[in-house]
């Protein structure tokens, strides 16, 4: 499996952070725009840009409460978005597993999946296997 299997809408650093952050909320909850911005650390303009792409894909929903000065925008992950993130996570795990298998072949030694030896070998190949 190649990285082409990863959803391109999600597979970008900022949008992935947004999706994972919103997925941490219980279903039925939403997060204010400023709350999300504080957690993600993006500028407002950048955050709006990425939110709109996710909203166009149907992965997040936004709604505005109140009017005027007290108006605030809240963001939530949609059901479609949760499913998409789950699929993305599955594909990512499969890709990482295949990297692990390649590590075994290249080093010619059996490694326990959770052993420190695996982590050392992966690091020598430049792969971060902490996930």
């Amino acid at each position: 499996m190649s990285e082409d299997g990863l959803d391109p809408v999600i597979h970008a650093p900022a949008r992935l952070r947004i999706m994972v952050t919103l997925a941490a909320l219980p279903e039925g909850d939403d997060l204010t725009f400023t709350g999300l911005q504080d957690l993600i650390g993006l500028t407002p303009g950048n955050l709006i840009t990425h939110l709109r792409k996710l909203e166009d894909a149907g992965y997040v929903t936004t709604h505005k409460n109140g009017t005027g000065v007290t108006a605030r925008t809240s963001v939530a992950l949609s059901h479609v978005g949760r499913d998409a993130l789950e699929r993305y996570t599955t594909v990512l795990r499969q890709l990482l597993d295949s990297v692990y298998s390649e590590t075994e072949l290249q080093l010619g030694k059996p490694w326990l999946k959770n052993g420190q030896g695996f982590v050392d070998a992966a690091e020598r190949l430049g792969v971060d296997c902490a996930f």
């Binding site: 990285e3 990863l6 597979h11 970008a12 650093p13 900022a14 949008r15 992935l16 952070r17 994972v20 952050t21 997925a23 941490a24 909320l25 219980p26 279903e27 039925g28 909850d29 939403d30 997060l31 204010t32 400023t34 709350g35 999300l36 504080d38 957690l39 993600i40 303009g45 950048n46 840009t49 990425h50 709109r52 792409k53 166009d56 409460n65 809240s74 939530a76 996570t89 990512l92 890709l95 990482l96 990297v99 792969v127 971060d128 296997c129 902490a130 996930f131």
Partner: protein, 223 residues
């Protein structure tokens, strides 16, 4: 259609998003981002109760302690000094306001959690209102001052204990369950200390329990 990056318009927005993506991301980086963002979100979205527990603890310690000091030498017993009781009521109101303020500023989370928070506080206020109604009924029925004093001291702690026990049925947490259980025990057993001792028991056993919860809140949130 405006095709300038960062402005409204479908094609322009795609360009802006693509430009904002930066260099392509590998699977290892994606995995690291998921882990880090998940941890940050978990920590950032966690409810913090330290301020509320501290105010409730000090409220019980100082308020109930003040009342205990005013009633302990009374011969015959005639009950809490109105000034001291007003202090306890003010501290109680401050506790509720502190809780509301905490809820308001809690990381911007809305939706069902916000509804639950409002219902939780409403249930505490309704419980306390019911408690005062029962006290009025006891006075009306001719209950003695020692009986009223025991009720006045024990009932708010009992209401708080039951609140924590029912809260933990919705969101189980061993520490909150323990606090609820402890407060119910303090309310029940404290009454046997008499109309004077019940205030001292509430101050120490109840107040210190809250302060312990406040002190260990960061560790309890991780569990």
């Amino acid at each position: 259609m405006n095709e300038r990056a960062g402005t409204t318009g479908g094609a322009g927005m795609d360009d802006a998003a693509s430009m904002a993506d930066g260099t392509p991301m590998g699977v290892a980086e994606a995995a690291a981002i998921m882990r880090e963002a998940g941890e940050t979100a978990r920590r950032g979205l966690q409810v913090r109760h330290r301020a509320t527990f501290t105010i409730w603890g000090l409220g019980l310690l100082i308020g109930y302690g003040a009342i205990w000091l005013t009633v302990r030498g009374q011969r015959p017993f005639h009950g809490p000094d109105p000034g001291a009781f007003a202090l306890v009521a003010l501290l109680g109101a401050a506790s509720v306001m502190a809780g509301l303020e905490q809820a308001r500023t809690e990381s911007g989370v809305g939706g069902l959690s916000a509804v639950r928070r409002r219902l939780s506080f409403a249930s505490v206020l309704i419980g306390l209102a019911g408690m005062f109604a029962v006290e009025g009924a006891l006075v009306h029925a001719g209950a003695s001052k020692p009986v009223i004093s025991i009720f006045e001291a024990s009932a708010p702690i009992l209401v708080a204990g039951i609140f924590y026990l029912t809260s933990s049925t919705v969101r189980p947490h061993w520490a909150v369950t323990g606090l609820g259980l402890w407060l119910v025990v303090v309310a029940g057993a404290g009454g046997f200390a008499g109309p004077v001792g019940v205030w001292g028991v509430g101050a120490l056993a109840g107040g210190l329990a809250y302060l312990l919860m406040a002190a260990f809140d960061p560790w309890l949130r991780r569990s």
